[in-house]
């Protein structure tokens, strides 16, 4: 009789390794390679821009975050994009964080370098009294809609943006910027006013004039 229900073990299969346990000898500390590796872009940024690089931290093990001067964001990000040893050619996300208690808002740029396979997060801090920063739309076209979203929900003005208007909230929305911590959860207007304003939206509000001309007979 063969023993039923037990798969015949193939010599040298991966299952053998699993059953044998980790190859590391017990007692040796397990090293997280990512957490201890210094990020190659940070020293280069410091050497190049000096005091415009405020500080640097590693969060969640392997997330490298650089805080830079908000007034120089386009210069620094442009250098990160174009300098051959950096070449962060993919802007994965632009977003913002409001921690409340009148603390400065953080604008977050999540970068990824396709040739070097490296990620870097760049943050700029903006005081609530001056929510203005240069747009990076000239560097990455994808920043167009991402910055519109940040403008819509946080009220940060992006200087030099070609088409800075709301993208998620209705065009006639007049209650402010909903993701700010000082925004009340249910909005500032009464439900009746919100309903009235919603139904008085004009479909043309969703488009810019050139879009309304698309497909129209000359």
């Amino acid at each position: 009789m063969t023993d039923q229900g037990k798969a015949p073990a193939r010599p040298g299969s991966a299952l053998d390794t699993v059953e044998a346990g980790p190859a590391v000898a017990p007692g040796l500390p397990v090293r997280l390679a990512a957490a201890t590796t210094p990020h190659p872009s940070v020293d280069a940024l410091r050497a190049r821009f000096g005091s415009a690089i405020h500080h640097y931290e590693v969060s969640a093990g392997d997330q490298h975050v650089v805080y830079v001067d908000a007034a120089k964001n386009r210069e620094i990000l442009g250098w990160l994009k174009d300098y051959p040893t950096q070449h962060y050619d993919l802007l994965a996300d632009v977003t913002a964080v409001d921690f409340g208690e009148r603390r400065p808002l953080q604008v977050v740029y999540q970068l990824w370098s396709i040739p070097h396979r490296r990620a870097l997060r760049v943050k700029c801090e903006l005081p609530l009294t001056a929510l203005e920063i240069d747009s990076v739309e000239p560097l990455w076209k994808t920043a167009n809609w991402l910055e519109r979203e940040v403008y819509d929900l946080f009220g940060i003005e992006f200087g030099g943006h070609p088409d800075l208007r709301r993208i998620l909230m209705p065009e006639n929305y007049a209650e402010g910027h909903p993701l700010r911590k000082d925004f009340p959860l249910r909005g500032r207007f009464s439900r009746a006013e919100q309903t009235r304003r919603a139904l008085s939206q004009d479909v043309h509000d969703h488009y810019i004039p050139s879009e309304l001309e698309v497909g129209r007979e000359p």
Binding site: R186, R188, A192, L199
Partner: protein, 210 residues
């Protein structure tokens, strides 16, 4: 002319025939915006099969639809589209509000969400659930059919006809909408003016402080 002086043999038989024809070929207009729409698709698929009740044709065109199934949450930005679709549907027409969000706003008691589509369009049947099972949707549509069975031509004008001048006007008055909006439930202690409703409840670590 019909129905004047009470129901007669002719009008009741005519009612029966017309209501029979109407209720057995309801064409739904699916307005699916969230997970309820997946249950609606399941109801249309072969397992549950609303074709058994004469609804095999989902009319993705409001001008050829009889019953609007609003499945899912409706944000304020979408409210004019919902109202316009309802206004484009030919009469007689019926409306099903499927799920908690479409009926009341559900858990989304927030700045962006319509608190019940009955503030936008008149609703005939509300289906509770989050999301409702396909059986619940079928039951709601059977209730629509029951509603149609009870109608008569004499009272039809009062029951179903909508004033075309009210196209685009909210279904609920401002007072009715305002009645929906007390600080209630466990969602928040905020109101819309101060941002904070003072209660005697002790602060917990997870509470939001505006």
């Amino acid at each position: 002319m019909l129905g004047v002086g009470g129901p007669t043999f002719l009008t009741t038989k005519l009612d029966f025939v017309i209501n029979w024809a109407r209720r057995n070929s309801l064409w739904p207009m699916p307005f699916g915006t969230a997970c309820c729409a997946v249950e609606m698709m399941a109801a249309a698929a072969s397992n549950f099969d609303i074709a058994r009740f004469g609804m095999e044709r989902m009319a993705f065109n409001p001008r050829q639809a009889d019953v609007l199934i609003c499945a899912g949450r409706v944000p304020y930005k979408l409210a004019p589209m919902l109202r316009r679709i309802w206004d484009q549907m030919p009469q007689p027409k019926w409306c099903v509000s499927m799920g908690a969000c479409a009926s009341t706003g559900g858990v989304f008691d927030t700045y962006s969400m319509v608190q019940g589509i009955d503030t936008i369009v008149p609703v005939d049947v509300y289906i509770p659930g989050c999301p409702p099972r396909p059986e619940a949707l079928l039951y709601g549509l059977l209730m629509i059919q029951e509603k149609i069975r009870e109608e008569s031509l004499g009272r039809h004008g009062a029951l179903r006809a909508e004033n075309p001048l009210r196209a685009g006007v909210p279904n609920a008055t401002a007072e009715q909408v305002a009645g929906l909006t007390g600080p209630f439930g466990n969602s928040t202690r905020q109101n819309r003016l101060s941002g904070l409703v003072r209660t005697d409840r002790p602060d917990r670590p997870g509470d939001r402080k505006p």
